[in-house]
């Protein structure tokens, strides 16, 4: 993450750097992309990715984190309720 914050990189370059599979790199990129945190730039046949730092500072992203926090909290409550219902 720090790498693409510093400079735009291709997925292959990222995979080489971290010594992980191209597949694993794609997964990380997909997740970051789904969160709207990546900027794509096509140069010829290559796609370079860079983190959108300004986007990361936006309130909406904080709110997204907050929403996830509540989601997690409630999934835990789901599990507890299921447990309590079973014990009846």
């Amino acid at each position: 993450m720090v790498l693409i914050a510093a400079q735009a990189m291709t997925p292959n370059a990222l995979a080489d750097h971290f010594d992980i599979s191209r597949q694993a790199t794609s997964k990380h990129i997909r997740i970051l992309n789904e969160c709207g945190l990546l900027e794509r730039e096509k140069t010829g046949r290559e796609i370079h990715y860079q983190l959108k730092l300004d986007k990361m500072r936006e309130v909406d992203l904080w709110l997204e984190q907050f929403r996830k926090l509540w989601e997690t909290r409630y999934q835990q409550l789901d599990a507890l309720l299921a447990n309590l219902n079973k014990g009846k």
Partner: protein
């Protein structure tokens, strides 16, 4: 089954409120208990990677719940929920704030007003939580605090994933 449970998260930046609505696959009494008994709160309230620890609980109007959210390193982040009005099993209002282990409030950090209502949706329970902050800045402060921890744990998980992939 889980995906069918209603979940709404609404932010009103003008009123500094966050409204969370969530349906639970249990009856209202049981859900109420999970919100108001500390031994049950301890089992769900702090979102992962945090865990919840109760120091004291007095669920009555004027009483409060003194609790800590414990991070993976064992650091305790203390909070207290002061109960203002209680109408079992319909709703309660409370003031949430940050404090130290003795329950002494930290006046520098934002306090939030909680309004929690419980209703029935066929054989499920619906909980609506409205959290109101004094200002948008307060809201930002709290989110930022939560996010730092959240981001840290996400990055730690990424580290673990990367380590396991390297093997």
């Amino acid at each position: 089954m889980k995906s069918a449970l209603q979940f709404d998260f609404l932010v009103d930046k003008d009123k500094n409120t966050i409204t969370v609505k969530r349906e639970f696959a249990a009856n209202r009494q049981l859900v109420w208990d999970c919100y108001t008994k500390s031994e049950l709160l301890d089992r769900w309230f702090a979102p992962k990677p945090f865990t919840t620890k109760t120091k004291s609980m007095d669920f009555s109007e004027g009483g409060h719940w003194l609790y800590a959210m414990v991070d993976p390193e064992g650091t305790e982040h203390w909070g207290r929920m002061d109960y203002v009005t209680i109408r079992p099993i319909d709703n309660y209002t409370a003031l949430d704030g940050f404090c130290d282990e003795t329950g002494e409030l930290n006046e520098d950090l934002p306090r939030a007003n909680w309004e929690v209502s419980f209703s029935d949706v066929s054989d499920h329970a619906l909980v609506r939580t409205v959290v109101t902050y004094n200002s948008l800045q307060d809201l930002k402060t709290v989110i930022q605090m939560g996010m730092e921890e959240g981001l840290k744990s996400t990055l730690e998980r990424l580290d673990e994933l990367l380590a396991s992939l390297r093997k």
